[in-house]
Symmetry: C2
Subunit: 559 residues, 2 copies
């Protein structure tokens, strides 16, 4: 599980994406009025796996899980925080990037999924800035190499100490023969608009760029002398806080631990249930709604409020499967419960969209659904009697590579025939990474179709109607259902997992690209290629030999 | 050379990109008024390499070189052709796609570069349609599998015979564990706007989709009964011809053979010279201008007209290096000649942009420059005394990963100091695959800068000015020149070729993506990854075992 080549530290047998500040080993979160400080202080002895030390604030997936948790808490638990200072608690070191020994010793699936998660975490910083007015400032006090500089690139403003030696760098290509794996190349040219030839120079200089040239080339925003640093940080943070649109209450909602029970063949959460069929290589994820909605005093309900609790559970389930169960090739989504209840929640969220907590919950659902989109597993949605695919949950129908909907009832089953129902949430709330909604992507360029579909909001669509409207792939009656679905899943899991990953990554994102989607498409795909190439990972490859004093031997042919 | 694993057929020692209709082995080009027919009739015994037969109109790079040649001639030699019928001369077979045995036996660099060239060829069909009103109709009379259907996808209109058995298919994932490599996935969802779940079904059904479902899912445009096919093809072609904007004369210009002499260390063309330094792994490409422009009677000058001849020579040089000299990691661009002459040509082309031949020449230069952009070699431009980097040729400065410009004169050299000069051609004529000009990409989002630069049109900029304006990376005086340039190139060629390929592919295309750029980025990068994965190319991989009757053994872990 997780990585066949390495052993998880402390006898753990899976990677756990749940944590909380009391358990952090690598980050310190402190709040001072409307300014938070997120200080990186990596404990080199607390690596996720055995076999390496996390020196110089280098990170592994465990470090990033804490960062992702802190970012979630900043949005939900600290709605008054307007500015987050991303700093290092270590002297003369900001962050040395992803730990090389960890990377060199990891199997391909772990490397790829490590990069995917760290990308999602950095995107979530930008999401907080863009959508919640929570602005980020990186304060670079020393070495900011590779992933360390990429961390800074995800912030809104990069300050660097002018001590004559501190530089920013992306030394991956010259040193390790791989690419910066966390969006660095894309952010340098697309976000910071560093000129491409400057970027070329920057990305091939091991020692990086310091001083005024770093400002001139737009690699950083501000260069500050050591004696003025604290004062300047304070002034910049204060200025940003003044300009922030954020106006949450001083107290947020506590994110209680996600409760779950692991079974040998699955996981039980409160509203989410995962059943794993190891022989078939399928995981079925069932999302349950309550009988009736509970929308009173949502701040008091806090993380137990159904939309929030369910999103957190689904998020954890996806991450668990992605990182701990590579052999599971297909995720089947189902729902179980009351369509009226799900509709009521969607309507409540829509009616209170300017409530800070509702705002955060919807953006969180957006991020969870985006995580689903970039999950390299076949995604199937089965819409059966007793289900509640309404609005927000119907996004899982549109996120799926295919969906099957049962016509009428199942023999010997009294539950009502399956319905599919659109709400306003399907028309703009949950945008994919490339900027379109899932329905816009599904009906690319056909705006008439979208106008027609909006008229269907609130109508319970049976399987025939849903198929005619193009909302599901196939409708089947109960005579064909079991057989068709079984044959499809069996066939699917017989194909090459790599072929499917490539296929799905290309078919899911029709239409435009954004900086975010470019990171997952262009950059990630090239990095995955390089992560397979002998020049990086072979016996004589640079990633393998780094730190041994031996020089890598390259096959010099250009592909 | 070309491919270490295979031997080129007929004792050839390099892949030749030059051909002409009298030498075609696989295509028949015929013209009837304003409708041309390009009939595929692959000679199975005339493969580019030894060791496979090109059965069922399957193709290898040699087949595609002829297609690319025919498409060029249709634009230059047949300016009156408004519609091109893409057909098969074989019974019940349209095209079976890329030859699997060729692919299975090819080394990685050949596979990748084969796909790159076939992509460029299909893009050139779409370019002819969009920019020259030369519309394409695919007439599918039988098997159109994989690359065969992808060929049809590059046309404007797909007709298919309704004979009860003919289908279109993309069976790569289920059969071969690779992706359709010639834009198929992108064109299915982005161009034809096939719904993503339908596309998922389509791309996983080996036998493909036929009959009315193919129309309903938008995979084809027209389904025609066998008895009506010829009549319907004629009517559709006639209708398209009527609507075409193309209005070229009945006679075009003959594309004479590109004259070149191969030396052990280079190639001499008329205006282009390639010098290969095998030890340094560098090829220097020098483009020479005449002393004075010759712009009288350009149709009579035909393919000897300097802008056209130079573009063809540069195109051939790039293709030669790309496909025959993998070990060359760096392309250095230089020019030699008269800035006034190059300026005069640019001004002439600009003043006569509505002349059909000028129009074609400029679009051809655009395509050649795009070929440079996607060439996975480090691109460097050196701007030295005696050079003529003006307008069109200055695009090579902006296409380069880096450029160096010499300040003043070289000791002992009387040639005038280097100048760089912009013309109107730099502001919209030569768009990159992602839709922006190279200057727009260079100064992404800074429209003021572009306004300022337009004011510089016609000014001879010295090295200091060019550097200050951001048009070159570095200006150096003659004391530093040799050493700096040498150190840069030596350092560059010491890096991992794969790392550089990924780096350059990510830094060169800041900004938006188009369907075309998505094909080269998202799709190609994923395909390259898959082309490295054991599930496709390993001993037990699907591509290796195809046709042996053995089933592939997959590592079932999802990455």
């Amino acid at each position: 599980m997780a990585d066949d080549k390495r052993k998880l530290a402390n006898g753990k047998d899976f990677i756990d994406f749940q944590t909380d500040p009391s358990r952090y080993r690598h980050w310190k979160l402190s709040i001072d009025g409307d300014v938070a400080t997120l200080a990186m202080d990596v404990d080199e002895n607390a690596g996720l796996y055995e076999g390496y030390l996390l020196k110089l604030n280098s990170y592994d997936l465990g470090v990033d899980i804490e960062l992702a948790d802190a970012l979630m808490r900043l949005r939900f638990e600290h709605p008054n925080v307007k500015v987050v200072l991303l700093r290092s608690a270590k002297d003369r070191v900001f962050c040395a990037g992803a730990n090389i020994r960890m990377l060199a010793g990891s199997e391909h699936p772990h490397k790829v999924n490590f990069c995917k998660f760290t990308n999602e975490t950095r995107n979530s910083m930008e999401d907080a800035s863009e959508n919640s007015g929570q602005r980020f400032i990186a304060v670079i006090n020393g070495t900011a190499a590779g992933g360390g500089y990429e961390l800074a690139l995800a912030t809104d403003y990069i300050m660097m100490i002018d001590d004559g030696s501190t530089a920013v760098s992306l030394p991956e290509v010259p040193l390790l023969a791989v690419l910066p794996g966390t969006g660095g190349l894309t952010r340098v040219v697309d976000k910071r608009r560093v000129r491409r030839d400057h970027a070329d120079v920057f990305c091939t200089i091991e020692e990086g760029i310091k001083g005024r040239r770093a400002v001139q080339w737009r690699l950083i925003d501000d260069l500050v002398s050591p004696s003025k640093l604290e004062e300047q940080v304070k002034a910049t943070a204060g200025d940003m806080a003044t300009k922030s649109s954020r106006k949450g209450p001083s107290e947020g909602v506590k994110l209680l631990p996600v409760e779950r029970t692991f079974r040998p063949d699955g996981i039980d959460y409160g509203y989410v249930k995962v059943d794993i069929d190891a022989a078939q290589r399928v995981a079925t994820i069932v999302i349950r709604s309550p009988e009736a909605p509970s929308t009173a005093d949502i701040e008091k309900q806090g993380s137990r409020f159904w939309p929030l609790q369910t999103a957190r559970e689904l998020d954890d389930a996806i991450l668990h499967l992605r990182n701990n169960a590579y052999e599971i090739g297909t995720l089947v989504f189902k729902t179980d419960g009351s369509p009226a209840c799900v509709r009521a929640y969607d309507e409540f969220l829509d009616a209170h969209s300017d409530h800070w907590l509702v705002h955060e919950i919807r953006h969180y659902w957006k991020r969870v659904l985006k995580r689903v989109d970039v999950t390299s597993r076949t995604l199937v949605t089965l819409i059966e009697p007793g289900s509640c695919f309404v609005g927000t949950l119907a996004e899982l129908v549109f996120a799926a590579d295919r969906s099957y909907m049962l016509l009428g009832q199942m023999q010997g089953d009294n539950r009502p025939a399956a319905k599919l129902e659109l709400t306003r949430a399907n028309f703009g709330v949950y945008r994919m990474s490339h900027g379109l909604t899932r329905l816009q992507t599904r009906f690319l360029g056909d705006s008439d179709k979208l106008v027609d579909l909006e008229k269907e909001i609130g109508r319970e669509l049976d399987a025939n109607e849903a198929e005619t409207l193009g909302l599901v792939t196939f409708s089947l009656d109960d005579i064909d259902w079991d057989n068709e679905v079984r044959v499809f899943i069996e066939e699917r899991t017989s194909f090459s997992p790599d072929g499917l990953t490539g296929l799905e990554a290309n078919l899911r994102f029709a239409g435009p690209e954004t900086m975010e989607s470019k990171i997952f498409a262009r950059l990630t795909a090239w990095q995955n290629w390089i992560f397979q190439r002998p020049n990086a990972v072979g016996e004589q490859g640079a990633l393998r030999l780094y730190g041994t004093g031996q020089r890598p031997a390259y096959d010099m042919r250009r592909v």
